[in-house]
């Protein structure tokens, strides 16, 4: 499915634009493959929708007596729904496919392709993300309809919110890609994936805003890359994060996105060596 065909038009001599064309078509193919097999994807989305449904009901009951830790019910609703949409990015096939190809040894084919492995996976993830975000927004609209609407974003922080939401993509990609590469060592993916999801859910504040966690856990969370994957954009949406704190939070997101990218490069070169050992 990731085949790049040149088509009738000859490729331009310039390798850079040639690469970009290749990645663009990879993203397109990823989106198309998702659309072709969308039943499974939609059931997966339904599963996450049930997750957000139970969170909404639980928080509605929990906050019925009044606001807690600075969150009232409408704010919490907005927080959870924004966290759901950004959490849907890079959540379906990127790591699953990688893990599968690594386990089966098909990754050897990926190695001989004249494109960069990491950029290729990112391109595919962007393709998936278009559909992931689209369906997640539909779920959110439905949830908002059931739970009596969703407050609009805070006007002052809208530009930063959009930037922050976009940064979730490279951030989540970094984590998902790194955990996918772990399969070179573990051979097992189901467990790795479950552990990753659990860690992200807790330390990104996707289930419970970090303000509800005890001090020591919040300190741990600030040193981890996960905060930028739910908490930051969701707090920017509700307007709970503003001024220099907001700018800092978004800069931290960007810094982590870059750091994870290079960390993944390092890990990939170690993993590729590992594969050579396997092949004898």
């Amino acid at each position: 499915m990731t085949f790049v065909t040149a088509g009738a038009v000859p490729l331009p001599a310039d390798t850079r634009s040639r690469r970009i064309r290749a990645y663009r078509s990879m993203a397109r193919m990823a989106l198309k493959s998702l659309l072709a097999y969308q039943t499974s994807f939609l059931f997966g989305m339904l599963a996450s929708a049930f997750g957000v449904l139970s969170m909404l009901y639980l928080w509605r009951s929990a906050l019925a007596a009044g606001p807690r830790q600075g969150f009232d019910w409408p704010q919490m609703k907005a927080y959870l729904l924004v966290a759901f949409v950004v959490g849907s990015l890079v959540s379906s096939y990127t790591d699953y496919r990688m893990a599968n190809r690594i386990q089966q040894g098909d990754v050897a084919m990926d190695l001989v392709r004249p494109v960069d492995y990491q950029w290729s996976r990112l391109a595919e993830s962007v393709g998936f993300a278009v559909y992931e975000a689209g369906t997640a927004i539909v779920v959110v609209l439905a949830a908002a309809a059931i739970f009596g609407g969703m407050p609009p974003p805070d006007r002052d922080t809208v530009p930063l919110f959009i930037l922050s939401a976009l940064l979730v993509l490279p951030l989540r990609f970094g984590i998902v890609y790194l955990s996918g590469l772990l399969v070179f060592w573990t051979q097992n993916y189901v467990g790795v994936q479950a552990a990753r999801i659990a860690l992200i859910t807790l330390f990104s504040g996707a289930l419970v805003p970090l303000a509800f966690l005890p001090e020591w856990m919040r300190v741990i969370a600030t040193y981890l890359p996960f905060v930028g994957m739910a908490s930051t954009p969701a707090l920017l949406y509700t307007g709970s994060l503003d001024g220099s704190d907001a700018t800092t939070a978004v800069l931290v997101q960007a810094a982590w996105a870059v750091a994870l990218w290079w960390l993944a490069r390092l890990m990939w070169s170690a993993a590729a060596r590992k594969l050579t050992v396997h092949g004898g």
Binding site: G44, L46, A47, S48, Y57, L58, T186, V190, A198, L202
Partner: protein, 267 residues
């Protein structure tokens, strides 16, 4: 009849034992699966604890009572994954036409399917779930006597039966959807996760679905209410063993019906 049932049970144990041995060949896998299961469930408990740090009770349910409900889901999940994980292989089995071989063997196909896999994450679930259950039981305000302990144990086993029956039922979708992925059953499993909290927090539609249509609430909320003698739900909780038998019956019935539609692969 008794001899037949004993033979069936003996074979089931043998089949499952073969799966356990096969799985334990991959020692690292075993540890990754067990530890990740503990981590996943522990995060769920931290989440509950974080909420109850700020809010003393939700809908009349206190922290340890909700932990009891939660722990029942973890234990039921653990048991179902350990003894009947095979339900989740049905999608691949049907899609690749691998049911053919099972149909030729002199042992009920449904039991062959159920015993065809063992999930080592079940052990992690079981350890953590039991720990939570014990912790919760020590904190809730219930006077324990022999009868209540026996009731509790019966309800835990019945709760696992509910989960196994519903897993089988939802995975039977493979006969109709014919996709090699069990995503439909997985989405229903996620719906079942709603039973980790007191069902009184949900809207009427969700509550009815959890109680009647896909009675996941009988693996946690109703048994917990029965043991705690909490609210009107306690009487329903006593029905858990009946619901378990019903779920297992409907699972096998739909399986048999699905089997009549099975036409192997390549046709």
């Amino acid at each position: 009849m008794v001899a037949e049932a004993r033979r069936a049970l003996w074979l089931y144990r043998r089949l499952l034992g073969a799966q356990v041995r096969a799985t334990l060949q991959y020692e690292a896998d075993f540890w990754i699966m067990s530890l990740s299961a503990v981590l996943v469930q522990a995060v769920g408990v931290v989440f509950l604890w974080a909420i109850f740090r700020s809010i003393p009770e939700i809908n009349g349910w206190q922290f340890w009572e909700v932990v009891l409900i939660y722990a029942l889901v973890v234990v039921a999940e653990g048991l179902s994954v350990l003894v009947a994980q095979g339900a989740w292989t049905l999608a691949v089995t049907v899609n690749f036409g691998q049911l053919d071989a099972m149909l030729l063997r002199p042992y009920p196909p449904v039991l062959q399917v159920l015993s065809s896999a063992v999930g080592m994450n079940g052990l992690g679930n079981l350890v953590l779930g039991t720990g939570l259950l014990i912790a919760a039981v020590r904190h809730v305000d219930v006077s324990w006597n022999v009868g209540r302990v026996a009731l509790g144990l019966l309800l835990v086993v019945a709760a696992a039966g509910v989960k196994i029956g519903l897993n089988l039922l939802t995975n039977c979708a493979a006969f109709w959807l014919r996709s090699p992925y069990s995503m439909f059953a997985f989405s229903m499993h996620s719906f079942g996760e709603l039973a980790r909290f007191p069902v009184t927090i949900y809207g009427l539609g969700v509550r009815i679905t959890l109680t009647v249509v896909l009675p996941y609430a009988f693996m946690s909320f109703f048994p917990a209410a029965a043991v705690l003698a909490h609210g009107p739900a306690r009487w329903l909780g006593l029905l858990t063993p009946v619901v378990a038998i019903y779920c297992l019956w409907i699972g096998t019935t739909v399986f048999r019906y699905g089997l009549s539609r099975y036409e192997s692969s390549g046709h």
